[in-house]
Amino acid sequence: MVRLFFLPVILGALGIVLDTQNLQAQSKPYVVTRYYGGGRSGANLKETILNTSNVNSSTFGRIFVLPVDDQVYASLLYASGLTVGGAAHNVLYAVTMNNSVYAFDADRPAKPLWMKNFNGTGRPGVSTEVGQYCTPFLDISGNIGILGTPVIDASRNTMYFVTRTGEATGIVQRLHALDITTGLERPNSPVVITASVPGTGEGGSTITFNPLTQNQRPALAFAQGTVYIGWASFCDTTPYHGWMMAYDGTTLSQVGVHNTTPNGMMGGVWMAGAAPAFDASGNLYVSTGNGDWNGTKNFGESLVKLSSKTLGVLDYFTASNYNSLNIEDLDFGSGGPTMVPGTKYVVTGGKEGKVYLIDTTNLGKMVPGDTQIPQVFQAVSTTTVPSATHHIHNANPWWQSPQGLNMYVWGENDYLRGYRFDPTAKRLVTTPFAVGSVLPPLGMPGGMTSISANGSQTGTGIVWATFQRAGDANQTLCPGILYALNAETLATLWSSTGPNDDFYLFSKGSNQIVANGKVYLAGQAKYISVYGLKAHGVAAQNLAYQKPAIGSTPCSGNQTPDKAVNGTYAGGLDDKWCSSDPNPWLTVDLGTAKTISRVVVEHAGGGMEPFEGNTVAFKIDVSTDGVNFTTVQTITNNTLSISTHVLTPVSARYVRLSISKPSTIAGDPARIYELQVF
């Protein structure tokens, strides 16, 4: 089964890059890599079902969820019509921070087709053992297992990913190759990741890969039989460097190693989870963050072009203010590169909110004022939140619209902006052709965007975007919101505010993907949410939805128990159950005894109230008769705005929250926006 994941197209000596989004449009939807193709256009152009007419609150919404065992930081992947277990399925792949890999039937809420865990005799890494330069380290909380987005070699039905485990010898990172039809390891898999290069950056003559301090943050990439993996740091905690490694996809032998700062330090390849981009020759482009630079061995704050397989430095661009960027923690490489479809240009953006348009045939090295590259401009407005950050994270998607070739930028503390590429001037027009009207809450990371469209047809282009609906996702797990916007006008089409539309906690590392009329979105609350046209069926998985609920005396006649089981957080301050009772409790009657395995609770922060009002301590009790309750879980130190509680499956008709500490603030009432039972 041959799929068009990456097919180099060389247009003579002009170095013209034909972005893989054009190739993808000729094949079945098959999302085998982050941002849909090696050019990282961020656009699925084969979407024939969803369009700007049917993505609205009447016809579109969440249709089911898929539970997983831990947080998901990586993007999801997808295969159409794959034979698994003797039957054809559209298959959705998810990886978790518990080092688990899931293959789900992408079209129905069911148990996984297969699921594998790769902790072995060890455990996943944990956030408390890294990031000592931040005290406490909160960029990630909990397990650190599979973090970077995997990649699939569709020609061999093989998925590649990197696990992180704590073992007797310390932290170990391994590259795995799995058969995506069975979940079984391919021959030669896994391999422990090791590397060393000559360098003086750590005081000796050799730099050795440190699996503890190196964060496998960017997405993996695959081309011409080779797997590419990158690393950065946890909160700039040294010693670390930017690393790129290449492995043969069949033998899993290491064929190339590049260290971005062998005679210095830092220069991480993180790109907010984006993937390296490929040009038509299979060369890679990666952006680096804060780090040393000398233009010979050290390439912090740069876009680096690396040779296929061997990872030699072919060319580079370094922002001429690299020293200032280093001082102010304004990583050039907070965003990943994307190839400008149909051209020889590559675009990347960083923490300054600037977009750099660079010629792939001559990256330009370092010239004062950056005058050697075709274009650099401020793509994120700094005036709406004038004293805050305006970073670009992830990567900027492209769409060849009926009106022209568009690039979409949703930086921090700003609106979504659409920029048009002028094919004559070969520059981006710096005045946006449209500006969205949705302004995300204060904080990081800006919109995580991608595009779906049916080729260039009008009325089919949709910008999908997620961000936090409250809080700052830099160092907090925040409730999230998904938006759909018209890619031609940036008008809002839909947002995830309807009943049972919530995807719970926002994942700052995971892009939504669109395939065959469905939107797949991973989150930090141990769920994959699947959105689509409601006419095709909506699974009634939340057993508590609109069921009878009772509770201790409400704060007011409007904040009654039924508000906690109406499926939504978005009905205002009265859309919650609130109780000032000294021993507040809330019970939902599921109607009949059901086997339940999960409870999701949306606390004050889930309703955009201050997070310090989240329920701290409570018990989950169950009963079959409403009189005799058994405690199945006791929570003593919750800080989350939305908490997911995995239970040993138990039969219950009644589910009760018994709250002993309703808030971090003495005297606060208990506030529950949603109590959902699965």
Partner: protein, 269 residues
Amino acid sequence: MGGKWVAIGMLAAALLPLSAQTPSFVAPADVAAPPAEAQEAQSGVFTQVLKAGLGTERPEGDDCLGVRFTSWTREGRLAATSGASAEPSPQCLGAAMPGIAIALKLMTPGERRRVWIPGGLSYKPEEAPQGPALTVDVELVSITKAPRRPLNLTTPPENARKLLSGVTIDWLKSSKGNVHPAMDSNVTVHFSGWTAAGKLFQTTVMDGQPATMPLGTTLPGWREAIPLLTPGDKVRVWIPAALAYGNKPPSKRIPAGNLVYEIELLRVD
């Protein structure tokens, strides 16, 4: 970027095309130390006017500016530059290097100065407390005025409407309409927000781009106040911390404590 650039700034930009087209990144001869004719502005920041500006309006408070600049270390190494682009670089005073903010407040549009900034006032202290001394050539191109800071941030007027929740609303402009938004409405607003201490933390006014959002996803205090408005109303709203971001928000980028917003409801869908 959009924006309501002060007209005189645009005029100044039009009169000074050469500075935009021929940037020099070579350090000036006096990069290492201010000459005798340079004047100390304050805190060891010295400036020297290279070209006089136009008009009398100077940046202040939370204004956002269009600037062109090039900075060097005292040793003459290029530190940063707005580059060769004809477009000025955006720079809000609240986010500027402390030393450059001191100098910019002295300038009028069209003016160009050389600024000698001592270590510690070059980069933001929280990012680089030991930041190196820098010498900066800066040209002020334009000023976008920040919304005027209310004088009564901590004391709403007696006749303002006080809600049971603790939110207080003072109508600055009343449309006397009768269409009120519901929680599932999309509301389009212009707004500006200040902390009780007077820091402008967010505004749609300078960019000229109103924001649209489902009312049910907004700040709790907004969900109290906005349903009382009709399109065309403009209000000043005092929101207690418990209905804003709290007293201990999860990030230093989110304002703590009581907040004051000015909100103009433009449309309800």
